[in-house]
Symmetry: C2
Subunit: 97 residues, 2 copies
DNA sequence: TTGATAGGCAAGTCGCTACTTGCCTATGGT
DNA sequence: ACCATAGGCAAGTAGCGACTTGCCTATCAA
């Protein structure tokens, strides 16, 4: 539900994970760990990232597929498209001039 | 910055306050308290709602104007329109934590 | 089979945050 | 002048959430 989406987005590391998956979909846990530390400079442990991925997955923002000993993670943007329109009521759409 | 917007949206009571201001803009603290308890069934104290409004204001989602002994609160949706497009576009994401 | 890789599970620690409690200031009605 | 209303400030408490620690399972390559 939407409740979980907001909670999932509340953490900066999880948002970085979404950034990473936006840039390159279908990464494994270790790939995400490596790219978080090298590119974003975050020193997150494997378990920490694993728990973040679990939160993102239970929020519907990430789906995972197992293949052998690898587990690939894919981004799902559908939950994002629904949550913000809640407060962007029909009045005054000043987003595009 | 965007960081504060996500943190502000992480709390369900704050989201209810945004709902309330969406429905009727320019409410005072006591009005928001009253409508939260009656319409939404939340038993939030005055101080709790006051602190929530401070968080929303520092995130740029609410602005307040003083008038006599009243303080009116208005919704600002501009910060909302910026945050989610971060993952909806195929472009490179913003460099924000 | 052995060892290395990829990941999972569970309990525990620690910091942040939502909420309370108590007291304070200021404005306005009468 | 009085007092009720509208709101602010600050310290303290409780619980949730992020992260660690330690050990476990499963898969593949040699």
């Amino acid at each position: 539900m939407a409740e979980d989406v907001f909670k999932a987005l509340a953490d900066p590391t999880r948002r970085k994970i979404l950034d990473e998956l936006t840039e390159r979909n279908g990464q494994t846990l270790f790939e995400i760990c490596a790219r978080l530390t090298t590119k974003h400079g975050l020193g997150s442990s494997r378990q920490a990232v694993s728990q973040h991925l679990a939160v993102l997955e239970s929020a519907g923002l990430v789906v995972s597929r197992r293949q052998g000993r690898y587990k690939f993670h894919d981004l799902r943007t559908e939950p994002l498209e629904r949550i913000v329109t809640r407060w962007l009521k029909p009045d005054a759409p000043e987003s595009t001039p």
